[in-house]
Amino acid sequence: MSDKRIIYLDNAATTAVRKEVLDAMLPWFIEHYGNPSSIHSVGRDAKRAVENARKQVAMAIGAQPQEIYFTGGGSESDNWAIRSAAEMLQSKGKHIITSSVEHHAVLHTCEYLEKKQGCRVTYLPVDEDGRVNPDDVKAAIAEDTVLITIMAANNEIGTLQPIAEIGRIAKEAGVLFHTDAVQAIGAIPVDVNEWNVGLLSLSAHKFHGPKGVGALYIRKGVRMNNLIYGGAQEKNLRAGTENLASIVGLGKAIELATAELPAHAARMTMLRDRLIRGILEAIPDVRLNGHATQRLPGNVNVSVRYIEGESLLMRLDLAGVEASSGSACTSGSLDPSHVLLAIGLPHEIAHGSLRLSLGNGNTDADVDYVLKVLPGIVETLRAMSPLSASNACPA
C-alpha cells in the first residue's frame, strides 16, 4: 500500500481504538489473564477489572453497576433485549412497536419474531427528516403491546429520536422500552432515567473502544431470559467466559467518551456543519438527508443525484477518503438503504447517497480536503452517467 494520506470518515461504521484504551487493555492479555469466574487470586484480579468496567459503563449512562450486562456487541444486545422481552412477556401479549429506520439488528430480530414466533410488529413510519412522531407511538400501543424499541440515533442519517418523550409515553402506558443507543454513546448525553428506558444497547467500537464487546443495560426489576445459556457469568443471564481485555477497554472508552462529550460534540458539530455547507454550496443537485439540527454531531449524509454510491465511494477511496454509502449492493441486495427509502427518497436518489461520519481523529484539514476533492469526483462520475437533470429517471 502506498503511504498516501488517508482520511477516515467512516466512524459510524467503526472507530480506531484510542491509545489510552489500548493501554488500559494491554495488561489483561498476557500479564493478567485470569477467568473472572475463577476464585483464585488470578481470577479475582480479573473479576475486579470487570467490575470496575461495569461501574464505568453504569456511570456513563446514569445506571447502577448491577444493571449493566456485558455482551459481544451491539447486535447481540439488541437481539437479546428484544427476544427476551418477547419471550418473557408472551403471556401478556405479542405486540411490539418499532420504527422503520432501526438498525437491522433490531429489524431482522423483529422480523424473526413475526415470522417464527407469532409476534405482531408495528413498524412506525418516520417523517422526511427521519423522526418518529411520539404521538404515533402512543396511538400504536395496544392491550397486548409488550415492547417499544426505538433507536436513540440513526446510524445512517444521524437523526436523533425524541427518546425522552417516547420514554414518558412508554412509562405511562406501562410498556417496556428498549433503545438502541449504539450510535448515541459519546455523541449525545445518555441517561437511562431521563429517557425512562428499561433496556439500552451499546457497543464499544463506536466510541473508540474495541470491537466485539458491548453491553445491555437492564433496569432493576425487568425480568430477562438468556440469549446465550451456559455458565453463571453475568448473574446467570449471559454465559461465556468474560471478554476481559475488551471489557476493560469498553470501560475506559466510555469513561473517556463521556468525560469529553461536551467538547467533542461541539468540535464534531462544527466540522459537520462546515462539511455540509461546503458540499451543498459546491455541488449542484445534492440534498442533505436527516434532520438539520437534531442529528448526531459527527454525521453527514447527502444524496448526490445522477451518480451511484459505490462508484462515488471507490473514487473517494482512491483519493484517500474513506466513507460509506446508502447502497447495500455489496451484500448482494439491489435495494438501497431502508432508511433512505423510509424518509421518502426515490430509489435512484437513494442509490447515490454518501455518508461521511466524523470521529476523534478528524480535523479541519480533513474537511478542507474532502471539499477539495469531492466536487471533481462528482463531476467526473456525472460526465459518465446517462442520467442528468433533463433525463432523470428512465425507469
Binding site: 451511484e308 459505490e310 471507490m314 447502497s327 455489496t330 430509489h347 435512484e348 446517462p386 429517471c393
Partner: protein, 124 residues
C-alpha cells in the same frame, strides 16, 4: 474484493461518452436497481468502428461497460453479438459473485445497441 483489472477500468474507463452519429444505441437497467448502461455503436461495413458508453452504477458496472466496449470494437456485428457476460467477467479477471449481474447488464447493453442498429439497417 475487485481485481486490479476491474479497478483499472473503473479508474480509467475506456470509451466513455456518446456518439453523435451512432448507428445504433441501447439503454438497459434502471435507476431503481442502481444500474443503468447506455451504449452507442458506430457500424461501418458490418464492423463496429466506434463505441461509447455511459453508466450509472457501481465499480463493476463501470468496469464491465468499459471492458465490453474494448472487446467489441473492431469486431463484426455477429462476433459482437456472440460476446457473453462470462467472457467480459473473465477478461476482467473475475467479478465478486454478487456483482455478476453487472456483466449481464453489459451483455444486454451491447445486444440492445446492436438490435437497434439491425432494426435501423434491416438490410445490414
Amino acid at each position: 474484493m475487485y481485481s486490479d483489472k476491474v479497478m483499472d477500468h473503473f479508474e480509467n474507463p475506456r470509451n466513455v461518452g456518446e456518439l453523435a452519429d451512432a448507428s445504433g444505441s441501447g439503454t438497459v437497467g434502471n435507476a431503481k436497481c442502481g444500474d443503468i448502461m447506455k451504449m452507442d455503436i458506430k457500424v461501418e461495413d458490418d464492423i463496429i468502428t466506434d463505441v461509447k458508453f455511459k453508466t450509472f452504477g457501481c465499480c463493476a458496472a463501470v468496469a464491465t461497460s468499459s471492458m465490453a466496449t474494448e472487446m467489441i470494437k473492431g469486431k463484426t456485428v455477429s462476433d459482437a453479438l456472440a460476446l457473453t457476460n462470462r467472457a467480459v467477467a473473465e477478461a476482467l479477471d473475475g467479478l465478486p459473485p454478487v456483482k455478476m449481474h453487472c456483466s449481464i447488464l453489459a451483455e444486454e447493453a451491447i445486444h440492445a445497441a446492436l438490435e437497434d442498429y439491425q432494426k435501423k439497417h434491416p438490410q445490414g
